[in-house]
Amino acid sequence: MQDNDNLKAKRNLTALVEFSRVINSSLDLNFILNNVLLTCLGKFLATRGVIALNISGKLQIKSYKGISEESISLFPNIDASEDCTENDELKNFFTDNNLLASEKISSSNECVGIVCLGEKLNKQDYSKDDLDFLKTILNIAASAIQNSLIVEELKLVNRELDSRIQRLSSLFELSKEFGLFSESTKVTRLLIFSLIGQFLVQKYALLRFEGNDIEVIEPKLPVEELLSNLRKIDYHRIDASLNKEQVALLFPSLYSMGIEVIVPMQIQGRTKGLIILGRRINNVDYTDADIEFIFSVGSLAIISMENRRLFREALEKQKMEEELDLAREIQRNLLPQKIPVYKNFDIAAVNVSSKQVGGDYYDIIELDNDGCVVAIADVSGKGVPASLLMANMQAFLQVICRQNVPLDEATGLINDLISKNTADGKFITFFWGILNNIDMTFKYVNAGHNPPLLIRDGKIIKLEIGGMILGVMKTILPYRSEKIQLMKDDVLVMFTDGISEAMNKKSEEFSDEALEKLSLEMASASAETILKEIQSEVQRFTDGANQSDDITLVVIKVK
């Protein structure tokens, strides 16, 4: 009998050593649990058994034999405390499933889980020896189970880490690709690829706002339905990402189209577009981290697209400025290239156009009979339309000067032509006159232009006779002309409002008075000197303020 007991003890010991070796050789939890359960069932000749482990503080069945899945599903939800085996619900579960022996798997400081075994095949009760042996088995198993649990957890953490690294590298890669020079279609395509690849999405759309327009890019959703649903809501105001619950709550019509996530694409807090994604094919909900990722990628993309747009705009602006330079050049060439020299007159003229092409114009057209037409004009507005009208005007003038039409009548004709050629309220202030070198007369018509100054004997005569500005309506009242007999040392100063209204930084105008005073003071100088002095005085006055208007000045001195 003694020998028999010894033999039994020796066999038990061998079995325990073998068991320990096997379960400690693996980190696979299922393998370990399976082994523990099979060893127990084999040892005690039991036909059923359950192992539940402490998973985040709750008992959870991890391995079972001989019990139906249905019964397992009824396992109570209880805390994995030190005295969990005393729990009534658990005891009921044991009774229901005919589990007779239960033992905790304990580590040094906590309950790792429990093992419960069904009745023995030989119908004997579990003896104290049996329970002691079970305890021993479970003590050996405890550390192996714990180790494998930790490994499982590590695997999870590693996977989580892998997935974060993968996202970071996606972000990094996209930021590289979304360079300044990427076509926006390429950017949107890459954005879509990355998102659908990352999240397994097949229903999606990318929206971009341009003013009040919505551009739908790469839609895999019914566009009309999407747009009509969007227009019903204040989609411009979507300034934060919306998850599934929020979409369902706020925009049920979009949610019913299968849309689960709406993420704004923003630049400096302003929504410039939306990323709309449907359900993930693997039926997993988007997490907050997912949505954060989508937001980051979306921002990268929209910034890239916006940069490209700004870059193109800058290019276009540059191109336009080059064209304007060309226009200015052409315009300069329309002005007289050289000023004729006369026995009795000394003529000086200048035109300084402001930044844009302008509408100022002066001309000196030599006539066959020893004299010339002197004209000065200011077309309303600036830029290309004004300069076109100015070019038009110049052409008329060149033609009409050859026709020998009296000045007043000619002015009426020019007005009729200009009126016909302007539609949008443009007009021209115009002054012209014929300077006769033989009889020293000046016959002029003033069509609404700043009256030129005739300075004689320290006094100023303003040349105001004429009529209405050009271009407002057809000539009804004929223009009037005046013929002045010029005298030696007379000075004629013609100018545009770019002189009299030149502004300094305090928004004060140079003024007619200042011009008149200066002209009087300079009357004894040559035409060229008077011109230069007026110009530099205006420059001094504006003191570096932007020249807002063209400056044109013609000075004639009678010799």
């Binding site: 996977r159 892998d162 997935s163 993968q166 590298s169 996606s170 890669e173 996209l174 590289k176 690709e177 390429k186 395509r189 890459l190 879509i192 690829f193 990355s194 998102l195 659908i196 690849g197 990352q198 999240f199 397994l200 999405v201 097949q202 993930r280 094919i281 693997n282 997993v284």
Partner: protein, 117 residues
């Protein structure tokens, strides 16, 4: 710049795209063009072989998502084969094994198509 190229061969009705190098946002359009070409020629039985692929990014994965629906609607499929552990890991991380059949070798993938017939 990372190199990427593809080569296509046919085995019966099955088209096999072999990927080589780095499939990322930069190179994804190359594979995209392959799919577009095959779809245009009504070749819907496609095996993509990864044995020479060193890296795939989510933009690369996106190409598979973008065309799978159309191909499956046309009674075809894209099957994947020969992934390295590193490449498989990325597919696995993003949940692709649920949606795509992944085989050890090109031959197994091709065989799967012929079996269905």
């Amino acid at each position: 710049m990372a190199e990427f190229n593809t080569s296509i061969k046919n085995q019966g009705a099955v088209s096999i795209i072999n990927l080589k190098g780095y499939l990322d946002a930069h190179t994804a359009p190359i594979l995209e063009n392959n799919f577009v070409d095959l779809i245009e020629k009504s070749c819907y039985q496609i095996v993509v072989d990864f044995k020479d692929l060193a890296y795939i990014s989510s933009a690369g994965l996106g190409v598979f998502m973008a065309y799978i629906e159309k191909i499956r609607d046309s009674k075809g499929d894209i099957k994947l084969s020969g992934m390295s552990d590193k490449v498989y890991n990325i597919f696995d991380l993003l949940g692709f094994p649920l949606l795509y059949e992944i085989f050890k070798s090109e031959d197994e993938a091709v065989k799967k198509f012929t079996e269905i017939k």
